[in-house]
Symmetry: C2
């Protein structure tokens, strides 16, 4: 099961975008995040084309930067015509420094401070995605004092529970995010928004969760949102301009994950939205979707060096690598599963069952239990797949480990986009 853009050389080396991963490991050192830019662009184009087919011209994908945020990602998604989500002033700052147009930014977050909001307005962020009434008041006040009306979407909780891991489930009523429709809180927020002088209500947002593989939860969410829009129109004469149905398209980490057909999902969704709007006499709003993980996850591969192998007879074999939860905390956080291979033995059958242990002094620092590899040796380069999303963005300096660099691969060439942290960097904020 190779991912798109991957192949195997005649000498059995794993190639990404045609480049030999063993040579890349030698050149840049390990651990190393590799990111196949060509695949990212293909993913962008596939989703954008599917959206155009499904929703006509009146649709725009937004790249959800929290999946992977660094300066070098923004020119790529901008060139592919995407807008972008930001979830903090830090993401906003990164996007702006990369030259991304502020007007195409949607500023999320359930706990924006007064300073965060001011920062967004001063930097002409296109649209705020408003979570709660305090935020609404704060934005209106800041917008007024800047002499503008700030475009916003209201984040609504549709009350849907997709079957996914608890920590990444967001659409249910009991959520820290958004305003609940069924108890009238969302309606109340609309009334407040329509009467605040600094606010221009553009529409609504919902996000039901992550790692969703079929159309059903999206259709359910769309129906709830469209019904809500119809009611709002009836009650207040307000016509929704934009409907953001969030992200969450599943990614294939292992063979256990189903193959997703985003194109067919979106086709169903588009047909449903159009029909519903027609039947209920509401104009079809501009549709926004927020892929993040599905744009970058499969385009990412992390290379490690195996530092030692320890077999405890009757128990298990630990393969220890020079990275782990500091560059990929998803096993520690969610017991996430990954696939991997030995980069110089990519053509060999993966018949050895091993546990891949990270370098941190913590038993929970594993990259995976009972993973399949060819016969590993100390010094081998290990390639862990589908690490493009929520790896670099969640990385830490736990155990004072330096974060790895990001190398972009495009057109058969490698480009260092984020350099490796140094020991000096770790002391950047230490005084005295």
């Amino acid at each position: 099961m190779l991912y798109q853009g991957q192949s195997i050389s005649s000498t059995g080396h794993l190639l990404i975008g045609g480049m030999d991963t063993i040579k890349l490991a030698q050149q840049y050192g390990t651990p190393l995040y590799l990111l196949d830019e060509d695949q990212i662009r293909q993913n962008c184009r596939r989703i954008f084309a599917s959206m155009k087919t499904a929703f006509g011209g009146n649709a725009m994908p937004l790249y959800a930067g929290k999946a992977l945020c660094f300066k070098g990602i923004y020119p790529i998604i901008e060139q592919e015509g995407f807008g972008a989500d930001v979830v903090s002033p830090g993401e906003l700052y990164t996007a702006l420094k990369a030259g991304f147009p502020a007007g195409k930014l949607y500023y999320h977050g359930s706990a924006k401070s007064v300073e965060d909001i001011r920062f967004g307005i001063e930097n002409s962020v296109g649209t705020f995605v408003v979570d709660n009434e305090e935020e609404l008041d704060r934005i209106s006040a800041a917008a007024e004092s800047s002499g503008i009306r700030q475009k916003i979407l209201i984040r609504v909780t549709p009350g849907i529970e997709p079957h996914t891991f608890e920590a990444v489930r967001t659409g249910q009523v009991d959520s820290k995010f958004g305003a609940v429709i069924e108890n009238g809180q969302a309606d109340h927020l609309v009334q407040v928004a329509l009467n605040l002088p600094g606010i221009e209500l553009r529409g609504f947002h919902c996000h039901i969760g992550s790692q969703i593989f079929d159309a059903k939860p999206y259709l359910d969410a769309a129906e709830i949102m469209l019904r809500f829009m119809a009611e709002i129109k009836k009650r207040y004469g307000y016509q929704t301009q934009e409907l953001d149905l969030g992200g969450g398209f599943g990614v294939r980490y292992t063979e256990e994950d189903p193959v997703i057909d985003i194109s067919s999902m979106l086709e169903k969704l588009g047909a449903f939205v159009c029909r519903y709007c027609l039947e209920h006499g509401i104009s079809c709003p501009k549709i926004l979707l927020e892929p993040g993980r599905s744009i970058v996850a499969e385009a990412g591969t992390t290379l490690y060096t195996i530092e030692n192998i320890k077999t405890i007879p009757g128990y298990r074999t630990y393969v220890s690598v020079n990275g782990g939860m500091t560059d990929n905390p998803r096993f520690a956080l969610y017991r996430a599963k990954y696939r991997a291979c030995l980069a110089a033995k990519a053509d060999q059958p993966q018949t050895r069952t091993v546990t891949i242990a990270g370098r941190c002094c913590e038993s929970g620092d594993l990259l995976g239990k009972d993973m399949k590899l060819a016969e590993p040796k100390t010094g081998d380069i290990l390639a862990v797949f589908t690490t493009g999303a929520y790896n670099y963005s969640m990385a830490s300096n736990y155990n004072r480990v330096c974060r790895p660099p990001i190398v972009l691969i495009r057109g058969g060439n490698a480009h260092l986009a984020v350099r490796r942290e140094t020991y000096e960097d770790l002391l950047n904020c230490d005084l005295g």
Copy 2:
């Protein structure tokens, strides 16, 4: 339940080391890590005094820096007579830059690379704690080429499973750490070490886990280690010089955690070790212990600002703060429990049950479910207790959130030890 060093002012404000936390929040902003240096020193003295009582002069505590590592911690523990554990070149670098004597450093880690080892030897690290045979060979080679014999301890797995969370349990046979006694792997490592030209074997290390509240697991571990030492002496005539029994002393996060009496635990342990050595004709080795969490956890308090409060009738009240899993990932990782209070209402009864939500766009970003507070309002300062360990050290820039500063409180004064990260810092490694 106030922690040592905490009190409440006549106006109901939480004081730490006599300083008003509301004023500190105003001065330094939030989120803010406060660290009571006076308490840290008291904790150091208490443990060191207990060790002297228990083991006589032949004992030394080592501060386990992975709990909390920044430059400013090292002068404190050095002045208190401690040695220190480091677990990576980054921790080693930090300790050395802070002027900590290299000879008092013990260098841990189960996946040390050739470069890591060279870095340690070039910097004259006192003792390596060796995890496996590959490492032993690498150290010997590096030491030889530097013309020295490197002091080491061998990390041994005693085969004990204390009742603690899986991710922080380390003493069981099925562990990525150390060499197992019962299957002969530890004995093999001793033979190899005794015959390598670059190695000076000083003794053994074990660590059975974290958050341990009674003496029993330590006595069990000590007995296994001493029996192993006696066997090694019989077989190879090798007399152990140092025995490192690890750390793991429990910390009282909530009322559910028992009160720990380290002094009485160590007294039992000391008596046991002396008796065993006498009875079995082995010289009593120098005893090392590695407190980390128990030195700093209760001395730490994190201040946040409440950005909004959302009550979902029939479900729960979410109190959203301007920090969360980025500065304290322990709820997300381990479902860790904390206590908290409103810093300006510390004298009021805590009768409201709330869920404290972090700022990240992730449902799992909580600081705690069903915590008790006085009646919270937007803008209130929230103080979360016992955050001195595994908070700053595990912090990340997820969602491009800047890491908070650390302020040390000593003698009624506040000192900025680590400054707040800036948006510019986030782009430190971004190229182009």
